[in-house]
Assembly symmetry: C2
Homo-oligomer: 283 residues x 2
């Protein structure tokens, strides 16, 4: 939608599995036209065209199979899945190698909303997009993916696939696991009506991300399993130490932990605010 | 500051331990005048006057001792500490009973900021204040505390002391323990610069409360120890089940947990939004 509004592409064609989504996408102005199958439009695509795969992480492979079967190697193929290691393995499994046309990426923007009605042409303005090129990635394909992201207002950065997955495991996948788990814990409490009635707004910010799409997050947790389990283990060990300090009425440990967290939070917030004015937004 | 601006009191007098805070409070218009000791102004106080104790939870007792030594039983005494059971025990310890002048309360408003420079006369507008009267609480004193809170725009609700502490343990104290612990975990990671650099904004909302005052939160965790430990145990058990499901690649359990949390979050958000238009804000 952002690329279309800004005239970055001659035509934007949507591919979706349902007629309803296709017609909503056209009537909302997200795309110029929409079809039910990639095979329908694949013969018309060539050098300069870009396919953006935007499906839950574990569905990327099926789409890649269609791309391999129908699409020319001249076409640039990129994606927006939140885990890159599993998608890279899918590419290798489907193609038996990493073709130069593949440029994997992850826009660090979005919200707890999903679906075509959540489209927002300015979603990426002043947000970051992480691309994870491999040695096989073609310079022309990388340039084409970069141009579209920059064209919709994003700042493009590069990370290796393992760095991406470890960092996002800690900063995004772990907090989502915590938020889902917190809301699930409280919803099972016999006082749940009272709990949500008296919940303060900090709580609402805190649990907002637990409204995110369940399929998307199931896939992310499975696809980035090792990094997420490692991050949960570190976090649970830390919260267990804190629990013990509360149990033992160890005020000094509590104060030191809270003070250290406050200093770290304030330091990193300040660093980010000063750095570039880039808004880091929802996963 | 809100009461003063709205003319709810003839005079608002601040009591603080440092000259600097006293003069800042006067120059910022928070109070009409400020003194270093309650004893200085206690002889002038009588029926119709209200003392609001606004110190970290475990410092309330020292202030109560001064109140008992210097202040007439005709004066209404209320507080804003985040835990009510410990303050009630302090009242009983200091007075040997619960005097009718004591009206304990907890405004569900505030932010991660603290100190006189964080004063905001509209902080309580459309926010909730929980009062926890006991059978001993005098109707006139309860009425006077209620009138001030309503006068600054708040909605006043009543809970019993144990209900308050259990509900706030789950909705506020537990999320703060989690947020402090998450930031502390990530700050100790060898990748911490990268982690905070690539952190998404959901993460920033999520960790904002970890910038809260360390003394205030040390006191809250200690004062509401039993409820907080119980809440942490339930949460850790839940997050551990989730971790196991990720480890076991049990997509069905993950999907069900996330879907349940999403439904609960959305249901309670809708219920709150429809109920009254009251904004529930930061703890």
């Amino acid at each position: 939608m952002g690329a279309r509004r800004r005239g970055l592409c001659e035509t934007v064609i949507g591919v979706a599995r349902s007629e309803d989504v296709c017609s909503a996408a056209v009537s909302l102005g997200v795309v110029d036209s929409a079809v039910l199958s990639l095979a329908e439009i694949a013969p018309t695509l060539g050098e300069g065209d870009v396919i953006f795969i935007a499906v839950p992480t574990l569905s990327v492979r099926k789409v890649l199979e269609q791309v391999r079967n129908h699409v020319s190697p001249a076409v640039t193929v990129t994606d927006g899945a939140s885990v890159k290691g599993s998608v890279l393995r899918d590419v290798e499994a489907v193609y038996g190698e990493v073709p130069s046309q593949i440029v994997l990426g992850h826009p660090i923007a979005g919200s707890e909303k999903s679906g075509v009605t959540a489209s927002n042409p300015d979603l990426y303005v002043r947000h970051r997009v992480i691309l994870t090129p491999t040695p096989e990635t073609g310079a022309d394909h990388l340039q084409r993916a970069t141009a579209i992201w920059e064209g919709v207002g994003a700042e493009v950065l590069h990370l290796s696939v393992p760095e991406h997955d470890e960092i996002l495991g800690a900063t995004s996948h772990l907090p989502h696991a915590i938020a889902f788990s917190l809301v699930d814990t409280l919803a099972h409490d016999s006082n749940n009506e009272q709990i949500f009635r008296y919940a303060a707004g900090g709580f609402r910010d805190f649990t907002r991300i637990a409204s995110s799409d369940a399929v998307m997050w199931r896939d992310i947790m499975l696809a980035n399993r090792q990094a997420v389990v490692k991050a949960i283990d570190l976090f649970v060990a830390n919260v267990t130490r804190l629990r013990q300090a509360i149990q033992d009425e160890d005020g000094e440990t509590l104060f030191n932990t809270f003070e250290r967290a406050k200093i770290a939070r304030d330091y990193f917030s300040k660093m980010l605010a000063e750095r570039s004015g880039i808004t880091l937004d929802k996963e």
